[in-house]
C-alpha cells in the first residue's frame, strides 16, 4: 500500500440554490480502503458521491485524485475529455438501478467489452475471452454471454454491472446503494462477491448506503451524514459498536433484529 491517499477531499460543499446538498466535507481515501457513507434519505450522501465522481460540480471545495502518473489533479479543473477517460478507465460507477449503468439492448458480453473497445481494443476474440472471464468471476454462467441484460434477474444485472465496471482494472469504484432493491439472500451473495473482488484487486471504493449491515460487511471506515454534514466518522466497527453522536446512536438502534 502506497503512503499517499488516492483521493483528497477538502471542504466540499454543494448548494442547490439556497438549499444545502452537502456542506464542508473533508476526508482522504487511501488505496485499498473501502469507505461507507451512511445516513437517512435526504442527508446528502448521493450529492456528495456525485460531487466526488464529477457527475456534479461542487459549489466550493476541492477534490483531488492521485493519477497513475503520481500527480494529484483537481478534478474540477480537468478537461471534459480527460475526465470522461478517467471515468471509464481508472474509475467505476455502480448505480443502484442496474438499468442506469448497463446497456439493456446489447448482450452481456458487449456490456462488459464496451470499456475495452472504448480504450481501443480491436480484437473480437480477446474482448470476448475477457468478457467471459469476467462473467465467470461475477458468477454468471458463461452461456449467458450473448443474452441481453433484460433477460437477467435483478441480482445478475447488478453483478453484470460490477463486471462491466471492473474490466479495465479501475483503482476507485463508486457505488450508490449497490444492494438496494435486492432480496436478502441475493444481497448476501452480492456483498460476498464485492468483498472478495475488492480484496483480490486491492480496489478502493466509496459506497453510499442506508443499510448499516452493508457498511459493516464491506467497509473499513464509515462516515455518518445528517442534513448535509458529516457528523461522525471513524472505523466501521468503532462507529457501529460505540456510536458517539445521538443521531448515530439512533441509527444503530433502529436496525431491525430478527
Amino acid at each position: 500500500m502506497s503512503a499517499v491517499p488516492l483521493l483528497k477531499v477538502n471542504d466540499v460543499s454543494k448548494f442547490y440554490g439556497s438549499r444545502i446538498g452537502c456542506r464542508n466535507v473533508s476526508f482522504e481515501l487511501w488505496p485499498g480502503e473501502v469507505l461507507a457513507i451512511v445516513g437517512e434519505s435526504g442527508s446528502g450522501k448521493t450529492t456528495l458521491l456525485s460531487c466526488l465522481s464529477t457527475r456534479l460540480m461542487p459549489s466550493s471545495g476541492i477534490v483531488e485524485y492521485h493519477m497513475r502518473d503520481g500527480q494529484y489533479r483537481d478534478l474540477a479543473r480537468m478537461g471534459e475529455a480527460e475526465r470522461r477517460f478517467l471515468m471509464r478507465t481508472d474509475w467505476g460507477f455502480v448505480h443502484q438501478n442496474p438499468a442506469d449503468g448497463l446497456r439493456m439492448t446489447v448482450s452481456a458480453g458487449a456490456n462488459v467489452g464496451e470499456r475495452l473497445m472504448a480504450v481501443g481494443d480491436r480484437h473480437y476474440g480477446n474482448i470476448r475471452a475477457t468478457a467471459a472471464d469476467w462473467l465467470r468471476r461475477v458468477e454468471i454462467e458463461e452461456d449467458r454471454i450473448d443474452d441481453q441484460p433484460r433477460a437477467f434477474s435483478g441480482g445478475m444485472r447488478q453483478r453484470l454491472q460490477i463486471a462491466r465496471n471492473l474490466v479495465t482494472s479501475p483503482r476507485l469504484v463508486f457505488m450508490d446503494e449497490p444492494t438496494g432493491g435486492l432480496d436478502v439472500s441475493v444481497q448476501a451473495r452480492l456483498l460476498d462477491l464485492v468483498r472478495g473482488l475488492v480484496h483480490d484487486l486491492g480496489l478502493s471504493a466509496i459506497i453510499v448506503t442506508h443499510d448499516l449491515a452493508v457498511a459493516r460487511l464491506l467497509s473499513h471506515r464509515m462516515m455518518v451524514m445528517k442534513d448535509g454534514l458529516v457528523i461522525e466518522q471513524g472505523l466501521t466497527d468503532r462507529v457501529l459498536d460505540d456510536p458517539r453522536e445521538p443521531y448515530t446512536q439512533l441509527l444503530v438502534s433502529s436496525i431491525l433484529q430478527v
Binding site: 471534459e80 458487449a110 473497445m117 480491436r122
Partner: protein
C-alpha cells in the same frame, strides 16, 4: 434578362441557397462532421430525398448535367420525379450516363463506374447519426463525436458477430473519415464503402428531416470499421449479372415468375445498359437471343 432568369434558379430562394452553401463549405472543411442547417420544406415528403434535393438545388448551376439514381436505377419513381423536378425548376440538362453527369444525386448506390474529378455525388440521407441506435440522446452523441469516443460503434459490430458469427451489417456500414469522425455513409450497401475511399469526386450528404449536411472531400481517407480478427469485407455474388454478365458489381434479385424463377441483375442500370451496348451478354440475354 439572362441575369433575371438565373435569379431564384433551382427552386430555393437565394438566401436559403446561401445558407446551405455555407453549411456545405463547413462540412467540406471538416470531413465527416455533421453540420446542422435550417432544412426547408420541400414539395415532396420526408424520406423522398428532401435533404439531397436541397443540397443539389444549392450547388446546381445552369451548365450542370444532372443524373438521379434510386437503388442504382435511373428509371424508378424517386429518381424519375426528382429528375423531372429539376428539369422543371432549373431547366438543366439531365442524363442517365454516369460519365456525362456533373452532379449525381443518389439514394442508395455509388455508380459502378469510377467517378472522376469535377463530379459531385449527392446522397439522400435518412439518419445521419451513426451512433443513433445505440445512444438515443442527441446531446450525448454530439459529445461523443466531439471527444472522439467511438467505442460504442464497435459494440454494435461486436453484437453482430456475437449473434451471427460475422459482421452482418450490410448497409449504412460505419466508416471513419480522415482518421477523425465516424460517419454513416447513408443506406448504401457496404459494397460501395471502398469506392468512397480516396474518391476523386466530391461527396455531399444531405439529411432533410434531421437537418444535417456532411461531406467527404475528394481524396479523403474513408476506412470501414472492423475488428482485427473479423476484417471488413464487401458482399460477394456467386453469379454474374444475368443480362450483361458483369462480375464484381452489386446485383439485385428479380423474381421472374411464381415458380421460384429469379435472376440477379446489375443494380446500376446505366452500367448494365452500357455493357450490353458494348456486346456483353449474360446467360439470360443470350438465351433470349438464341430463342429469337
Amino acid at each position: 434578362m439572362t441575369d433575371l432568369a438565373t435569379y431564384n434558379f433551382a427552386y430555393l430562394d437565394e438566401q436559403t441557397k446561401r445558407m446551405i452553401r455555407r453549411a456545405i463549405l463547413k462540412a467540406i472543411s471538416i470531413p465527416g462532421y455533421q453540420v446542422p442547417f435550417a432544412s426547408r420544406e420541400m414539395p415532396m415528403p420526408y424520406g423522398w430525398g428532401t435533404g439531397g434535393v436541397q443540397v443539389t438545388a444549392a450547388i446546381l448551376g445552369p451548365k450542370d448535367v444532372l443524373k438521379v439514381i434510386d437503388q442504382g436505377a435511373d428509371d424508378t419513381t424517386n429518381a424519375v420525379s426528382i429528375r423531372a423536378f429539376f428539369q422543371k425548376v432549373a431547366n438543366v440538362a439531365v442524363t442517365t450516363k454516369t460519365r456525362e453527369a456533373t452532379i449525381i444525386q443518389t439514394r442508395h448506390r455509388i455508380p459502378e463506374e469510377a467517378l472522376t474529378a469535377g463530379q459531385t455525388l449527392v446522397y439522400q440521407v435518412p439518419i445521419p447519426e451513426p451512433l443513433r441506435f445505440l445512444e438515443p440522446r442527441e446531446t450525448e452523441t454530439r459529445k461523443m463525436h466531439a471527444l472522439e469516443e467511438y467505442g460504442l460503434m464497435h459494440v454494435k459490430l461486436y453484437e453482430d458477430i456475437a449473434r451471427n458469427g460475422h459482421i452482418a451489417t450490410t448497409y449504412a456500414y460505419p466508416v471513419k473519415v480522415e482518421g477523425r469522425y465516424v460517419m454513416d455513409p447513408s443506406p448504401t450497401p457496404k459494397f460501395d464503402n471502398p469506392k468512397m475511399h480516396m474518391s476523386e469526386a466530391l461527396q455531399l450528404f444531405g439529411a432533410g428531416r434531421e437537418k444535417r449536411i456532411y461531406a467527404v472531400p475528394p481524396y479523403t481517407d474513408v476506412v470501414s470499421l472492423d475488428f482485427e480478427d473479423h476484417p471488413f469485407e464487401i458482399q460477394h455474388f456467386d453469379k454474374p449479372c444475368a443480362l450483361c454478365g458483369a462480375e464484381q458489381v452489386y446485383l439485385d434479385e428479380v423474381v421472374l415468375d411464381d415458380k421460384g424463377g429469379r435472376m440477379f441483375v446489375c443494380s446500376d442500370t446505366d452500367h448494365c445498359e452500357d455493357r450490353r451496348e458494348h456486346g456483353h451478354a449474360g446467360h439470360l440475354l443470350a438465351q433470349q437471343e438464341a430463342a429469337e
